[in-house]
Structures are given as structure tokens and as C-alpha cells.
């Protein structure tokens, strides 16, 4: 088959036009239009932790591990509870053995026995992914395997993560880890598979003390949103500019 240069160019141009014209029938949406077209446009998930109610029983950690299939005895976890004991000399003793999964039943912290008489204050702080509005983990993922959904939750695509660990390094809260079985980055996602079906995250359902609650910030009638917007709440490490969306009641200056 012979084909002169002129014919080749003619056919190539014709073919390109023929394939491009139908594409132009599609319209490009602006970001706002696209967002409005998405069903979840009026959802922004957030979380409220009331540290004054937490007793450090560890049921939330157990529930999370079971619900999200994180190997039970692996020393990594999507959520954990920290114990803070401030002694009279002003020192903060902090621990979270196995993420607080089995509760805190000993007076020993990091190998040091604490005398109950010597304690100024003590409390528990549950931790989980902050589902930041400006997530550094999403910024640094080289392949886009971790991404933010329209309703504010940061997810990981297990089929696309290359396991470089950059997101783990980038998270100031230390919520990310490598899943021991799947060998990809893993983290809390507010139990996205549950909240998108109208259920509560596993840790929220398992907390008998109402220390953990989930909120939709776009719903002004949501009782938890009301607390976040009308009462005094704080976030962790706001100096990193990540705009975290887990809000705390009763945070202390010693909390890391």
C-alpha cells in the first residue's frame, strides 16, 4: 500500500477532527459545578472527642481492629488511646501500650511506677486520623493513591499504593502505617464504608461513654456539629497548617 505524505497528512487531520468533534459535545464543569453535581455536596465529615469522658477502656481500639481487619496483635492501629499522667514535679508521663487496646490497668508507665499520691492530674486522649482539609499525606503521594473525597475523608487506594512511605513520613500525627498483610499505607477513614451508609464508625458505636462522636459539619441541625460550632473545642497540632477535622473537648497543654 502506498501513501504519499500529502495523503497521510490529509487522512491524519481528518481522523483527528472526526474523533475530536464528538468529544466537544461534552461540557467542562467548573469545580463548583462539579461539586454541586455530586450527591455528597452537603456533607463534610468531622469528629468530636470528649477527653473528659474517656476512661481508657480500649474498646474503641478493639472494635476498630476487628471492623477494619487490622491484625489484632500487630503493634499498629488506626485509632489508639494515650494515657497522660502529670506528676507533682510537673513531668508528663505518657504511654499507649498496644494502642491502649487492653485498657490501662497498671500504674507503670514506660517502666516507671507512678505513685497515685504523687499525681496532679491524669486523663486519656483518643487519637485517630484528623481527615485534614489540607492533608500533607495527599500532597506527597507520588501516584495519587491517597486522595480526599468530596465529603472530606482521606482514603487510600490499596490497588494503587506503591508503598514508598512518603505519606507516613508527611503525617504530623503519626496516624499512618504499612498494613502488615496488604503491604500498603493504611489509616483511619472514619469507617467510610459505614458512615456513607448512615451508620456510625465502629469506635463511636463501641464507646459506652459518648467520648467519640461523628458529625456532618454541613448539617447545622446535627447535634455534634452544634457542639463543635458553639462550644470551645480545640484541634491537635494546628501549627502545621493541616486544618484537622477531629475536634477535642478538654485538651491539655501536655497533649502531644
Amino acid at each position: 500500500m502506498s501513501c504519499s505524505r500529502r495523503d497521510f497528512l490529509k487522512q491524519a487531520c481528518g481522523g483527528t477532527l472526526a474523533s475530536v468533534l464528538p468529544v466537544s459535545a461534552f461540557t467542562f464543569l467548573s469545580n463548583e459545578e462539579a461539586r454541586a453535581a455530586v450527591e455528597n455536596a452537603n456533607v463534610r465529615w468531622a469528629f468530636l472527642v470528649d477527653t473528659t469522658k474517656c476512661v481508657g477502656c480500649g474498646l474503641c481500639v478493639k472494635a476498630c481492629k476487628n471492623e477494619n481487619e487490622i491484625p489484632y496483635d500487630a503493634p499498629v492501629t488506626r485509632t489508639w488511646v494515650e494515657r497522660y499522667v502529670i506528676t507533682k514535679d510537673g513531668q508528663a508521663h505518657i504511654d499507649s501500650p498496644m494502642g491502649g487496646r487492653d485498657g490501662f490497668t497498671e500504674n507503670v508507665i514506660n517502666g516507671e511506677e507512678i505513685d497515685p499520691e504523687n499525681i496532679d492530674k491524669a486523663f486519656f486522649v483518643p487519637k485517630l486520623c484528623n481527615q485534614c482539609d489540607n492533608p500533607p499525606c495527599v500532597q506527597v503521594c507520588p501516584v495519587g493513591a491517597t486522595y480526599q473525597t468530596d465529603d472530606g475523608v482521606v482514603l487510600v487506594d490499596r490497588s494503587w499504593c506503591i508503598g514508598c512511605g512518603y505519606c507516613i513520613m508527611a503525617c504530623p500525627y503519626g496516624v499512618r502505617f504499612f498494613h502488615p498483610v496488604h503491604k500498603v499505607a493504611d489509616k483511619c477513614n472514619f469507617c467510610y464504608h459505614r458512615i456513607t451508609k448512615g451508620m456510625n464508625p465502629a469506635c463511636v458505636d463501641s464507646c459506652a461513654f459518648d467520648a467519640r462522636r461523628i458529625a456532618n459539619l454541613r448539617d447545622p441541625d446535627d447535634p455534634v456539629t452544634k457542639i463543635i460550632t458553639t462550644e470551645r473545642v480545640a484541634v491537635l497540632k494546628d501549627e502545621y497548617g493541616t486544618k484537622p477535622h477531629v475536634f477535642y473537648i478538654g485538651l491539655d497543654e501536655n497533649v502531644r
Binding site: 503493634p75 505518657i94 504511654d95 514506660n110 495519587g144 506503591i162 512511605g165 508527611a170 502545621y240
Partner: protein, 418 residues
């Protein structure tokens, strides 16, 4: 779930005081090797460009060698990343779906661009040699000659014109590529520094000086490795010649020329001073501003990692070789010792950045200690252990041995016309 599930990092991390449950030393020895090898690549190329672009005639012989050696080093710069990935079979994804807000996403692009520049420059520099080989080997009998003929024929890529005009064009092209290559080489490595410097969560890494410090120390280590390898190979050649050729001829054999080494040493010292100054500036600045993280950084730098940072890196790796190279009456042996120490110092700098940056918890309330796996008992402890690192370090020498079979980068004097 399976009981054999191993959490990445547990093998070599020991925690002290309060560390978040998910924190481990995730970036281990291979991530120390990555900037180290990349630095060697960039440094080797900059050394060769000093001759090709800036016409430093004294560096001619070592420049040819550095250029080819930087090609041999190149695969060894990507290898540590591959060995470190939890999903190595997905290594091509950053090229398929690059997410450009991530510093790592550009690695494949920068790496490939740089590789193309090095390969093209080598081609232009050695094209005349390839053509001459084809002519010399034509008609010769034997399988070996046939093979070599075909390899060289392929290497010429059909460009057999070696008239003076054609060679002039070659020369110009090599010069342009060497010139373009300098910023690309610096970018390749400066950007490795950016990968660390832009991690805002890490108090030790986050610094805009990081890329510049990385470039300076890269050039230092690259020049040092090229000088060292060059000296060793040349002395070995001279030694072998001395044994085979008669004693009278032996007096004419020079080994590694001292004027080449002198010129290269001057550049080495210059870049070394720049690298140390920047590192000290960074340290002073952190101490002076004393941000929230300074308490834990200070306890790591002046306490836990004191030997690694101040004894091994600054004293043994920087100060001692600096003095050794500056003192008058420098001999080849002393130069070799100094070069080995310089290479060690830059390695310790990479170690102290990568491992040191994970020596403290994000909570600023605890520490993590790294224990390099030595005897491997699983794929992971091999890949991210001593032997994995040694494999990476040995790769460029093996590759150079192969490449040098076809590209004579070690010819000197009269023979070195390419």
C-alpha cells in the same frame, strides 16, 4: 488474619519513652543509600563537566572517566528506591499516574532526562572511537570479533562520518550536553534534598537549606569517589605494567598523575567548605531560634547521636580529611586515606539526616533507635539490611567494568584523543 504478618519497621526499631504506636523507622538503610548514590552520580557528572564545559584541561583524563562512571552509577541511584518499596512491582506507577504535588512523582522524569543526557554525551564523545572500531574489526575472523563488530556497529547508530567538520559538531554537541547536564544533575540531587526538606512533619528535615546542602555534599562525594576510583585503577595499571615491562621503561610510567589529582582536590575542598558552612549554619539557626522541636533535636544531636554527628561525620569525615588534603607535602597514599574519609563523612551525613530524622518521635516525647539488620532472615531484612546496601554499593563498579569494555574511559596521554 495471618499470624506471620510482619509490621514494616518492627525488625529494626527500638522505642524509648513515648512514641506514637504507628511510628517506626520506616525509611531505613536504602533511603540512606538513595541520596548517597544520587549524590555520587551528580558529583561525578559535575566533575566531568568541569573539563567539557569550563575547559579545565588539567582534568581531561579524569573527566572522561567520570562521565562514564556517572553512567555506571546511575542505575545504582534508582535501585535503593526499588528495594525499599513495599510494592516494587508498582514502581512504574509514578510515571503512569504522576501526582505532581509530590516531590517523588518527578523522580522518574528527572532521572530519565538525566540518563538520556549522560548517554547522549558519551555517544558524542566516543562516536569517533566506535566508527574506528567498526573499521578496524571489519573482516576479522572469530566469534568475539563478530560480536564486538556488531556491538560497535549498533553503537554508531549508522553515523559513520568522522570528517573534521563532523567531529567538530560532535564536540560542540558534547559541550552543550555537558552544560545542560550540570543544572539537571544538580536538580536530580537538589530535588532529593527537597524530598526531605519539604516534610513539614519532620522537625529535623524541614529546612529550605536541605536541597543546597545535598547538592554541595553530593559534589564533594562524587569528586571524591571519582578521584579514588581513578587513583586505584591507574595505580593498579601502573603496577601491572611495571611487572611486565622492563625496568628502564618503568621509570616513564606515571600512575595517577599528580597534577590531575591536585586540580580535582582543589574543587573538592571548595565544595567541602561550602557544604560544611551550610550545615553549620543550619545547626546554629535551629539552636538560636529554638523552636518547640529544639528540645528533642538538641537531645538527639548532642546526646543520642553525638558520636554519629560530631565525631564520625564532622570530625572524622570532614575535618580530618580537610587537614590531610591541605597540609603540604601531600602524597598519593595520604590523598587516598583522605578521600575514603570524605566518602565516609558524606555517607554519615546521609545517615544522620535519614536515620537521625527518625530518631525522635513526632510526639517530641520519645526516641527510636535503629538497628541495621546484618544477617538476613527474610527478604525484607536482606533488602533493607547490610547486604542490600552493599549490593547497591557494588552495582556501579560491576556496571563500570562492563561499560568500560566498550567505552575506553581510562585511556591516557597520547591515546586519550576522544
Amino acid at each position: 488474619m495471618t499470624s506471620e504478618a510482619v509490621v514494616h519497621g518492627v525488625e529494626w526499631t527500638v522505642k524509648e519513652l513515648f512514641v506514637y504506636p504507628n511510628e517506626f523507622i520506616y525509611w531505613s538503610i536504602q533511603i540512606v543509600m538513595y541520596p548517597y548514590m544520587t549524590g555520587l552520580v551528580a558529583g561525578a557528572f559535575v566533575l566531568s563537566s568541569l573539563y567539557h564545559v569550563f575547559g579545565q584541561k588539567g582534568l581531561k583524563e579524569i573527566a572522561q572517566f567520570s562521565l562514564v562512571f556517572s553512567l555506571a552509577l546511575l542505575p545504582a541511584a534508582g535501585l535503593p528506591l526499588l528495594l525499599h518499596l513495599q510494592q516494587p512491582t508498582r514502581a512504574m506507577e509514578p510515571l503512569l499516574t504522576p501526582h505532581f504535588t509530590s516531590a517523588i512523582s518527578a523522580f522518574g522524569i528527572v532521572f530519565t532526562t538525566y540518563g538520556l543526557i549522560v548517554v547522549s554525551e558519551i555517544w558524542f564523545v566516543y562516536r569517533r572511537f566506535f566508527v574506528e572500531q567498526v573499521h578496524a574489526l571489519k573482516g576479522k575472523e572469530g566469534f568475539g570479533n563478530m560480536l564486538r563488530l556488531n556491538v560497535y556497529r549498533a553503537l554508531t547508530m549508522g553515523a559513520f562520518d568522522i570528517s573534521d567538520e563532523a567531529l567538530k559538531v560532535d564536540h560542540k554537541a558534547a559541550k552543550i550536553l555537558a552544560g545542560v547536564g550540570i543544572p539537571v544533575a544538580c536538580f536530580l540531587h537538589g530535588y532529593a534534598g527537597f524530598i526531605f526538606g519539604s516534610v513539614k512533619a519532620n522537625a529535623l528535615w524541614m529546612s529550605p537549606l536541605m536541597p543546597v546542602i545535598f547538592i554541595m555534599s553530593a559534589v564533594v562525594s562524587g569528586i571524591a569517589l571519582c578521584m579514588l576510583t581513578y587513583i586505584v585503577i591507574m595505580e593498579w595499571k601502573a603496577f601491572r605494567l611495571r611487572r611486565t615491562v622492563s625496568v628502564t621503561a618503568a621509570t616513564e610510567i606515571k600512575g595517577a598523575e599528580s597534577d590531575i589529582i591536585n586540580t580535582a582536590t582543589r574543587y573538592l575542598l571548595g565544595f567541602l567548605v561550602a557544604a560544611i558552612s551550610l550545615e553549620i549554619l543550619d545547626l546554629i539557626f535551629r539552636g538560636y531560634t529554638a523552636m518547640k522541636s529544639w528540645d528533642i533535636l538538641r537531645s538527639v544531636m548532642y546526646g543520642k547521636d553525638f558520636v554519629n554527628i560530631f565525631v564520625l561525620q564532622y570530625t572524622l569525615g570532614n575535618l580530618v580529611p580537610f587537614v590531610l588534603l591541605l597540609l603540604p607535602g601531600r602524597t598519593m597514599k595520604r590523598t587516598v586515606v583522605a578521600l575514603i574519609l570524605v566518602l565516609f563523612g558524606v555517607f554519615m551525613m546521609r545517615w544522620n539526616v535519614v536515620i537521625g530524622g527518625q530518631a525522635f518521635s513526632l510526639s517530641f516525647s520519645g526516641y527510636m533507635h535503629y538497628h541495621l539488620p546484618i544477617i538476613p532472615h527474610s527478604l525484607e531484612t536482606f533488602k533493607e539490611g547490610l547486604f542490600g546496601a552493599l549490593s547497591v554499593a557494588a552495582t556501579p563498579f560491576v556496571l563500570f567494568w562492563i561499560i568500560n569494555k566498550f567505552v575506553p574511559s581510562l585511556e591516557r596521554g597520547e591515546e586519550a584523543k576522544y
